[in-house]
Structure formats: C-alpha cells, structure tokens
C-alpha cells in the first residue's frame, strides 16, 4: 500500500549553518528594492514555512518571530506586524507538517498557499486595526507566486541533504 503520493528520500541530517544561510538569503531577497512590483513573493515566509515543515525541531515559532521583527525594522512597517504573522505561520506549518509531507509537491504547495494567505490576512487585519487602508486585491498575488515556487524552494533547501542514488568511488559527489 502506497502511503505517500511519491517516493520519499532518506535524507542526511540537516546542517544548521545551511538553514541560517537560507534564511539570511531570503531576508536579502525581501529587502531588495522591488518598488511597486506586483506579486513579489514573501521569500522569508516561504523559507520559514519550508523549514518548519521539514525540520520542525530546528526551526520554530521563536525564530520565525525574530525574523519577522527584522523584516519590520528593515521595511519601516509597524513593529511586530511581521513577527505576529510569522509566528502564526510557523505554528500552522509545524502543526500541519506530518500531514503536508504525505502529499505530492503541488498539493503541498496548495497547503502552503492557504498558510501564506492566512499570514497575509493577519497582517492586513493588524494594519487595518492600526488605521491603514486596504491596498487592493493584488496584495495577495505575492502568496500565489510564493506557492508556485514551493517545489523549487523545497528542492533547493533539501539539496545538501540528498545522498547519491548509487555510490561510485570515482565520483566526487
């Protein structure tokens, strides 16, 4: 009986340094000058969600919260807004991580899309409560692109943990 929709790989242990590097790269991506471009994915949210699903013991709500704080300070947003939303995102991803991994990549992406949209709705709610105006429905386009990137990002994040399918003494990797 096939429990998983796709064969699962047995991965090597994750390197904490690589996790930190990916989070920093995602922060760099988010702080790049995107101006008013529509649909730029929130890469930090995506990477945090990915690590929460795959490494729920290493990545947690606390780290997500702190990364969110950095996003707030870097963007001049309301202090705590991203931290608030990312804490919920991490909680959702950690709660769902056993379920999500049963599905194929694109169905995983659908789960993550819901999580990311909820994150954005939380941020929207916070800003509306603080006296902001609704920035238009294109605000949510970023989550769609982020979810579309889920298979690629998962592949890249888990790449160093893969081992060769057939061991060959003459091959370096």
């Amino acid at each position: 009986m096939a429990y998983f929709e796709q064969p699962q790989r047995i991965l090597l242990p994750v390197s904490v340094g690589y996790m930190a590097l990916t989070v920093v790269l995602a922060l760099l991506f988010n702080l790049m000058p995107w101006h008013d471009l529509v649909g730029v994915p929130d890469m930090v949210a995506l990477v945090v969600a990915c690590w929460c699903v795959h490494q729920p013991r290493r990545m947690g709500i606390g780290i997500a919260w702190f990364v969110g704080l950095l996003m707030d300070a870097g963007n001049g947003a309301l202090l705590g807004q991203h931290a608030f939303a990312y804490a919920f995102l991490a909680f959702g991803a950690i709660t769902l991580h056993r379920r999500i991994l049963w599905f194929s990549q694109w169905r995983q992406a659908a789960h993550v899309l819901v999580l990311l949209l909820l994150t954005q709705v939380l941020m929207l709610g916070v800003r509306l409560a603080a006296g902001g105006v609704f920035p238009g429905p294109m605000y949510f386009a970023g989550s769609l692109t982020a979810a579309a990137l889920w298979p690629t990002v998962t592949f890249l994040l888990l790449l160093p943990q893969r081992r060769p399918e057939s061991v060959d003494e003459n091959r370096p990797l």
């Binding site: 790049m32 101006h35 947690g60 919260w65 947003a77 202090l79 608030f84 919920f88 902001g132 105006v133």
Partner: protein
C-alpha cells in the same frame, strides 16, 4: 514515584504555548509602536541588526547601475551635456533676477523690521529603497542621525517637496512621502494665498485638499506651495497641482484631488532641509502642528 520521561524526548513547551507567548509579545510591541511610540529604542536595535542585510540587498542593483554607467555612450553624454548647458543658461538668468530680488527683499524686510530668514543647511541624500510595506508610502535614505538628520526635517527634490523625515536610525532615515495616507503638509494656493492642509491619498499616489469649504476659491491647475507657517517646511516650495474639484452641495467640504509636483516615486537624489533655527517652541497645550506629528489620528471624514 512519578515517572519522568528521559530528557532526550523533551521538546520544550508545547507549540501552542510558544505561539501564545510570541504572539502576545508581538501584540505588545505593536501596541507600543502604534499607540505610545515606546518601541523606538527596540526598533533602533533591530534596525542596526538589519542594516548590513539592507546594504547587502542593494548591492546587486548598484552593481547593475554601475555597469550601465560604464557603458553609457558618448552620444548620450554629449546630449545630456547640451541639455544641461541650455538649462544652465536659463537658470543663470533666473539667478540674476533672484539676486536682485533678494537684495530688494532684504531691504523691504529691513524696512518692516522683519526677521531675516536664516538660510537653511541642507544635506544631499540618496534614496536607497522604497519600504516593502504596501500600507504606507515611505522611502529609506542613506543618511541618518550620524549625518545630522533629525525627525521632522523636510525632504525635497529638484521640483518640490517629496516628504518628511519621520524616523532616524544612526545610518539611515525613513522619509514619509507626502502621498502617504498619514502625512499632512500645510500649503497655500499661490494664486490667492488661501491656506489649507493637504492630506496624502495613500495608494493612489495623489493628494487630497481636505476640509476646504465648498465655495473656496480653488481652481483646477492651481499650484499649491508650502505655507511655511509651521516652521518645518520653508515657505514657497511647490507641493502639488490641483487636478480635479468636485463640489457637492450635500457636503460642506469640496473634494479636491491634487497631483504632486515633485517626482515622489522617481528620483534617487533628494535634499534634506534642516529645521529653521530660532523659532519659539510651540505652546505645550496646543495640538501639535500637523506636519510634526504625522502619526496623529486623522479626524473622521464627513461623508
């Protein structure tokens, strides 16, 4: 005896407990930041941590710009040079009249025993990036508290006012554009000197001249300049042009939409003007002047 699980099974507090802890911490921060502005010191520390990341994130764009500069053709340079020369000629004639006018003005002011206007110190700054916050219109500039930038200073470009410094970090400063929903600028109509306060329109990139009586003498294409009565903005800087006026007899105020004169979304180089020295401090009880406290709650608009 009660049974304790071995320590390697322990995973700390349950996720729900952690979520509760961090969410309440975040809510506390947000309330402090939005309502009481106590969170500035925390923000400064976190911003200092984020600063290297911010600079590094700009590197690819800067590299691209530098490469493009390197490959600028001579033809383009020549054209630009010709344009600048022509502009310089026009400016020179303006400058001559300006000097004459300034002399005349100082004479007249002397006659009126009016206080001489102190020339303002200005700092050239470069816009690093636009904040990735879709709810507000803010830009980050590359000069901060170390370079003498202070909150409340006016920021202009070659054509007019673009905004006001609202938050200062040691090496960066945050400028709220005049089009931000929370930003107000005291203006007057050039044609007849009518004073008003202009409100940012938020996402539309326009400005609203709110609380102007329906029968006020404002016409389309009127130029609005800073009135200078707040002591923050120097008087006479162009702010906006009136684009559309809707006078509805049912409301007591006209709906006047304006378009900013300055390139609020275009330029990279801006000038930060220092506050005018020697103004008496505002009275303590009075409501703070509109542009000094941009976060102040805006009264409910009458529909």
């Amino acid at each position: 005896m009660d049974y304790q699980p071995p320590p390697f099974f322990s995973r700390g507090p349950a996720p729900l407990v952690r979520l509760g802890f961090f969410v309440s911490l975040a809510v506390l921060l947000m309330v402090l930041d939005a309502r009481f502005r106590y969170a500035e010191s925390i923000r400064e520390v976190v911003a200092l941590l984020a600063y290297p990341l911010q600079r590094a994130a700009l590197a690819p764009g800067e590299l691209l710009g530098a490469t493009a500069d390197f490959f600028t053709t001579q033809v383009a340079l020549k054209q630009e040079n010709d344009q600048l020369k022509a502009k310089d000629l026009v400016a020179a004639s303006d400058l001559l009249t300006l000097q004459a006018l300034r002399a005349e003005n100082s004479q007249l002011r002397g006659l009126l025993e009016a206080r001489e206007r102190v020339p303002r110190r200005s700092t050239l700054a470069e816009i690093l990036y636009q904040g990735r916050d879709p709810f507000s219109r803010k830009v980050i500039i590359d000069k901060g508290g170390r370079q003498g930038i202070e909150p409340g200073q006016a920021v202009i470009d070659a054509t007019g006012v673009i905004g006001q410094v609202t938050r200062v970090h040691p090496l960066l400063a945050e400028v709220t554009l005049i089009t931000d929903k929370e930003q107000r600028t005291p203006v007057e109509v050039v044609r007849n000197g009518l004073r008003a306060v202009i409100y940012g329109g938020g996402d539309k990139g326009t400005l609203d001249l709110s609380y102007t009586a329906t029968n006020a003498d404002v016409q389309a294409d009127d130029l609005l300049v800073t009135s200078g009565i707040d002591g923050v903005y120097p008087p006479g800087l162009p702010v906006a042009k009136v684009a559309k006026i809707e006078r509805n007899a049912a409301t007591s105020f006209a709906t006047i939409t304006c378009i900013p004169v300055a390139g609020t979304d275009q330029n990279r180089q801006v000038l930060v003007l220092s506050r005018e020295a020697g103004l008496p401090p505002p009275p303590a009880e009075a409501a703070p002047s509109a542009s000094i406290a941009p976060k102040q709650k805006r009264p409910k608009k009458r529909e």
